[in-house]
Symmetry: C2
Subunit: 245 residues, 2 copies
């Protein structure tokens, strides 16, 4: 298998887990010219306000999308893992309303926006796949707004941990019980709209309640039902059922 195909495969697998592609459509995607790039920890992939001409598919590592205010406060909008097309929005929106940066050493491939649009134009199934992907993204954003807008500190942190767990599980990096937390508590704080100190205290509270344990970066969910209950976590919003068509 070519370098291209092997780095693009995780995304195809993610799409086909939801709904199989025709051989022709799959092949067309895997034949796209790509450019593999490596990043260190906390490196910028895209800045807010830029006009990117390429999309970004994560091959390895963890990145986040964020928006920031002039006073320095930052909101992380989403975390992305291997197989995620982070910047699908770049294909059709000309100006980036979020920045993208890494949280671990990361490998990513860049795909030309025009190639994505051509694919969507030629293959309705790809148009639908990209659209579905964007809809799931949007659904997650809605849940995050609910999270920071209405839940208490402990609930927010619990919810985020469960989401991370679920998403890592879908790419084989968690067994649903135990996973390596790919980000620091300060980053979690930026994602749930709390201070780092209070995020830490919320995690401690979850530990003391017996819902989870941590060993360094490793998180062990001790009592999933209890954790899901405090977080009111319901994975419907991740839309694991796939698209209607």
């Amino acid at each position: 298998m070519s370098v291209n195909a092997s780095s693009l495969l995780p995304y195809v697998e993610k799409i086909e887990r939801r709904r199989p592609l025709s051989d022709e459509a799959r092949a067309a995607f895997l034949a796209l010219p790509v450019q593999l790039e490596s990043y260190g920890t906390y490196q910028s992939i895209l800045n807010e306000g830029e006009r990117p001409d390429r999309c970004c598919l994560i091959v390895e590592g963890v990145v986040s999308r964020y928006k920031s205010l002039k006073n320095g406060r930052r909101q992380i909008n989403s975390f992305h893992y291997a197989g995620d097309m982070v910047d699908l929005q770049a294909a059709i929106l000309t100006v980036a309303d979020t920045g993208i940066r890494t949280h671990t050493p990361t490998k990513a491939v860049r795909i030309d926006c025009e190639d994505i649009l051509d694919l969507a134009e030629k293959y309705p199934e790809w148009a639908r796949a990209f659209w579905f992907d964007t809809q799931v993204d949007a659904s997650i954003f809605r849940e995050w707004t609910l999270n920071v807008g209405q839940r208490t500190a402990v609930e927010r942190v619990a919810h985020l941990l469960l989401e991370i767990s679920a998403r890592l599980e879908s790419i084989g990096q968690s067994d649903g019980k135990e996973f390596v937390l790919p980000v620091t508590q300060a980053d979690l704080a930026d994602a749930v709209g709390l201070s780092a100190v209070h995020t830490n205290r919320s995690i401690q509270q979850l530990r003391h309640s017996g819902a989870l344990r941590t060993h360094g970066r490793k998180v062990v969910i001790e009592n999933y039902p209890a954790l899901a209950k405090v977080a009111s976590f319901d994975r419907t919003y991740l839309h694991p059922e796939g698209p209607r068509r």
Copy 2:
């Protein structure tokens, strides 16, 4: 013009403001069979968790999408106005992760999800239009997460008012300075993650600063630059520039 076409026209106009459609594509949309429905104030159009088979296009009135917690707390995720296809997500996501309800007397047309998908399959320009619409939606959700996650009470309220103003302006219901606020303060509160009381006090603060005035439901922006500054409002996230293609 048929009843169908006249109620569907506002959406076509919104789409074509961004990028013109081919005559054929336009005609195909306007020929869709639709069902016009009327709702009163605070009526439910869709409940969380349902499996709708039709999308919903607002002809007249204001509706919101929301998510709620078992303790009764509610987060409004978006407001929608005439010409908005509120429930485009229903076309491709099988289960609704948000509810939809009206805030004013509302007229809406229901379009079969399968018709939407057929249109996207047959006309790549429609597939792109729907995808773009969803991307803009997602961008607004990201901004709302930033709003509730990182801004202070006064900033949040100012930002929401400016967004409402900008969106009403694009459909001719505001001149950019003066508009009729289509929702109550309690609803604003649910949208910005504050209590109704504190939302009220934040509005008062904006009034006392001279940034805006209110006469009943009418809002008059007295000092747009000042208001935009406190809100750090920048309409880039509404993507008025339209799609790349």
